[in-house]
């Protein structure tokens, strides 16, 4: 039985090794904050952190994450995600909200890598995350705001 490190806890799961991580999280572990959107790594709704990097859990098989640290929207921690959540609230980013777990996880990985991202950095990192409600302009504004506030508190 494979054991995964999910949100800081070692968790035994029963799924077949080729099961995409997304469905282990949602179906078996009931961590449903990570969303299904396309199943092909096209929309980013399923984004989680694997050793701190943003990955698409819908195309990441269970066998590829053994021995590595998985963080989901429910368990992501630190100054970047705190700043992002505050900025998301301040700018009132969300509409339907379905894509926002993925947006936040991608943005968080970006800020960890590039604490003061340029518009081009944001385009490059965030263009894999679709939003049908059209919250893009506010996502950009919120990431810049979060980067500023994280810089101030650092």
């Amino acid at each position: 039985m494979p054991t995964l490190n999910i949100n800081g806890k070692n968790t035994a799961v029963e799924a077949e090794p080729d099961t995409p991580l997304l469905w282990v999280l949602r179906g078996e572990l009931k961590l449903v904050g990570t969303k299904y959107g396309c199943g092909k790594g096209l929309c980013g709704a399923c984004t989680v952190h694997l050793d701190g990097e943003a990955v698409r859990s819908c195309v990441t098989p269970l066998e590829a994450v053994q021995g590595r640290e998985v963080r989901t929207i429910e368990g992501v921690q630190g100054q970047q995600i705190d700043a992002l959540r505050q900025a998301w609230t301040h700018v009132d980013v969300v509409q339907c909200g379905y894509c926002q777990s993925g947006q936040l996880m991608t943005a968080c990985a970006l800020l960890k890598r590039v604490p003061k991202p340029s518009n081009e950095d944001i385009d490059a990192a965030m263009s894999g995350n679709l939003c049908r409600c059209g919250t893009y302009t506010r996502i950009r504004e919120a990431i810049l705001l979060a980067a500023d506030s994280a810089a101030r508190t650092a």
């Binding site: 078996e28 199943g39 092909k40 609230t89 969300v94 339907c96």
Partner: protein
């Protein structure tokens, strides 16, 4: 005075309306205040009317009938009640309402009547009044659509809040033995000048014993503390930590999961299948054949038949489904293609003048006498909704009763559809509406809800969650229909527009036959054409069609606002000045138009794009769902001549701006949604099958392609009108007009492609 052809509703429903009017003559007027059945209460909670409950811990619970799909309606509606109640906004929570006639959406139906928006005549008022009474009496019309939530509940929610406030003040006055007139409410408390004060929670039990006030006085706009302010969304926090529950997130003990494969050919069904291999796979409980599911009790069309696999985990259901060998009965549409549909539309316009939806003056004579005429043919394709959350529904059927957790825009219709599918009375259906991961009109239909209910018959009482894979969602939508429109205009020797004629062809968007919405936005423009004729030929196809954010406005704004631009060019006038002249009789439109021009510095030359590329700009103005929106797009072409939209100026007049922040969000969202369609959106058909399958071949706009958007809201004291949809229609013509200004090439087909 234009000769308005009042379309089908008056004649179509006169019989029923006449009969019902007699029955009501003796009945007292019912206000939308009290539900038929008392509200369910928890410990320490009382109901002050059908819209609000107060708890001993001071929580104010607003009964919410409207689905939250991103449009912010739940926040806006709660504000209306809290405002008049003088509740403490931080103590306000929401609870899903039951199905009751007081929550029926009257605005979406009455506003859908085919009258000119500026027509306030007796027939329109009488029809609206009588229909309002019908709607109040018929349960099951609760729905979220037509950009109508705030418009519909603007009065009842404020009356409910004011009524609750009066009762709380009455309770305090009795307790303190002072005149009620000396007391006032503020921020969740009742106060008396003597210094006495009590929280709503302390007064609620006494207040609930008092009779409903006969009359209430609503606040003036000067007294508003919430309305008009950019209050933050109620649903923010839950949507930032993964805790918000969408349909796909419903978790229940013993939950089973289902995946589905439907016939790829529109209108098709299952001929046969071999499930032996799938049934032997781990976790698989059952393989079920589903017949075509009707989309809605009032709209035509049904979803293809298919095969569903029920298993213990979502992935096992999906995985096993691939092992089911299915033989399809492709049905009558197997030869259908985008080309055949397109030729059908052309043939319809070649042969017919169409049904007249609006005419004024003498168009034929004016065209004959014109010094100059221009003609153009416009086209729009089928479009998918592609909500981020694919269609899904969870259902449980146990002891003759059903519970469904349905991410639906139409709880009333969905509940009725489940009852019918399972052969049980509607009273035995409990419908719960979680958050919707987008709606855009797709979730007004109940096909996926019916499918889940039918699967729940197969699981011996265990709940089952049906999730459509993205590919199924893309191929089994109810699409915005493809339309063709032929336009003709005539000018006198001075270049003045003297004749306007458009004839469109396309399907009816799944509307019930007595309301034809096909020329909405074309037959009821604000332009004062001296001679005009707007006609339509209905051409149905086997491709399922439905309502797509802004419905017919999505195509008609493109036709009208592009061709008006052609007329401006033909008459040698500036596009803004040309429109302003034609809008001389409509001050509201003119104000919106000139504000947009002012914000865009329309009179000044446009600077180059950041990379030095030349920019062009275009304007469009369109009224839908009661709101007027003007947009100016600034565009350039990239190195590969790809279309780039740099900035969009958007001015909206939507009456009282209940929550400016939500209005801005909806304008931004409407623009991005419309831009995805204008630049890339197209569903094509080959051999009766939808050719697009996922976000690779139906590719919405991404953040790197999103323009800067500047929204300006006009001050107004008029009752609020729609905001969820009106941002979408103007963007496609604004961009097309900008591309003309940039390149001199007029693009008349969506999606926009520069050769």
């Amino acid at each position: 005075m234009p000769n308005l052809k009042r379309r089908y509703i008056v004649l179509g429903t006169a019989g029923a309306v006449g009969a019902l009017m007699i029955g009501w003559a003796a009945m007292p007027q019912r206000r939308r205040l009290m539900t038929d059945k008392p509200l369910a209460l928890s410990q320490g909670q009382v109901a002050l009317n059908g819209w609000v409950k107060v708890s001993s811990d001071n929580t104010v619970t607003v009964m919410m009938s409207q689905a939250e799909m991103g449009q912010g309606a739940q926040t806006g509606l709660a504000m209306l009640l809290a405002e008049e109640m003088d509740a403490d906004w931080t103590q306000v929570t929401l609870e899903q309402s039951t199905l009751d006639a007081i929550y029926n959406n009257q605005a979406v139906i009455i506003d859908g009547l085919p009258f000119q928006p500026n027509d306030h005549g007796l027939i329109k008022r009488a029809t609206g009044h009588v229909l309002g009474k019908i709607i109040r009496a018929v349960p099951g019309l609760q729905g979220t659509g037509g950009s109508s939530s705030v418009a519909d509940q603007w009065l009842p929610l404020r009356e409910a809040g004011a009524s609750a406030r009066a009762m709380l003040i009455g309770a305090a006055a009795a307790l303190w033995r002072v005149p009620a007139g000396e007391c006032r409410a503020e921020n969740g408390r009742v106060l008396h000048p003597s210094g006495k004060s009590a929280a709503f929670g302390e007064l609620a039990q006494r207040a609930a014993q008092l009779p409903l006030p006969k009359d209430v006085t609503l606040k003036t706009s000067a007294q508003y503390k919430l309305i008009g302010h950019p209050v933050r969304r109620i649903d923010n926090a839950a949507k930032l930590d993964g805790s918000a529950t969408y349909g796909i997130d419903v978790l229940l003990p013993g939950l089973l999961y289902a995946s589905i494969s439907m016939c790829p050919t529109v209108g098709g069904k299952v001929a046969g299948f071999d499930a032996a291999a799938a049934q032997a796979m781990p976790g698989v409980r059952k393989v079920v054949k589903l017949e075509p599911a009707k989309a809605s009790s009032i709209m035509p069309g049904s979803t293809c038949g298919g095969v569903a696999v029920i298993a213990d985990t979502p992935f096992r259901a999906m995985h096993a489904l691939r092992q089911v060998a299915i033989e399809w009965d492709h049905g009558a549409a197997a030869a259908l293609s985008s080309e055949t549909i397109s030729s059908d539309l052309k043939a319809a316009l070649d042969g017919k003048d169409g049904t007249v939806h609006f005419h004024t003056g003498r168009v034929a004579d004016a065209l004959k006498s014109a010094a100059k005429t221009i003609e153009a043919e416009y086209r729009v394709p089928f479009l998918a909704h592609a909500t981020m959350e694919p269609m899904n529904c969870t259902a449980q059927f146990k002891d003759g009763a059903a519970t469904v957790w349905a991410p639906t825009q139409a709880a009333g219709f969905a509940s009725g559809a489940v009852a019918k599918a399972l052969g049980i009375p509607e009273a035995k259906v409990d419908i719960k509406v979680p958050y919707l991961g987008g709606g855009f009109g797709r979730r007004y239909l109940s096909d996926f809800v019916v499918q889940a209910a039918l699967l729940a018959r197969e699981t011996q009482g265990a709940p089952v969650q049906l999730l459509w894979p993205r590919e199924q969602d893309m191929a089994h939508d109810y699409y915005r229909p493809t339309y063709l429109c032929r336009c003709k205009a005539g000018f006198d020797a001075n270049g003045k527009l003297i004749a306007w004629q458009t004839t469109s062809a396309g399907s009816s968007m799944g509307a019930p036959s007595f309301i034809d919405m096909s020329t909405d936005g074309a037959s009821n423009t604000a332009y004062a054409f001296p001679n005009a004729r707007v006609a339509h030929v209905t051409v149905e196809t086997a491709v399922p069609v439905g309502i797509w954010r802004s419905v017919a406005h999505s195509q008609n704004a493109f036709f009208v606002e592009s061709f008006i631009d052609e007329c401006a060019v033909a008459s040698g006038k500036d596009p803004v000045a040309f429109r302003a002249e034609l809008l001389s009789g409509d001050a509201r439109h003119r104000r919106v138009l000139s504000r947009a021009a002012e914000l865009a510095n329309w009179q000044q030359p446009l600077a180059a794009a950041p990379d030095g590329a030349k920019q062009g700009r275009g304007i469009a103005i369109h009224r839908s769902f009661g709101s007027v929106v003007a947009q100016i797009a600034e565009v350039s072409l990239g190195e590969q001549r790809q279309i780039r939209v740099h900035r969009v100026i958007c001015v909206v007049d939507c009456g009282v701006a209940v929550n400016p922040n939500l209005i801005r969000q909806q304008m931004e969202g409407g623009i991005v949604f419309g831009l995805s369609a204008a630049l890339r959106g197209e569903i094509t058909i080959e051999k009766g099958q939808v050719q697009q399958s996922n976000f690779n071949d139906y590719a919405p706009l991404r953040i790197n392609e999103c323009p800067a958007i500047q929204v300006d809201i006009m001050q107004s004291v008029e009752a609020p009108s729609g905001v969820g949809e009106p941002g979408t229609p103007p963007i496609a013509p604004a961009v097309a007009n900008a591309l003309f200004a940039l390149t001199g090439v007029r693009l008349r087909s969506l999606p926009l492609k520069i050769a």
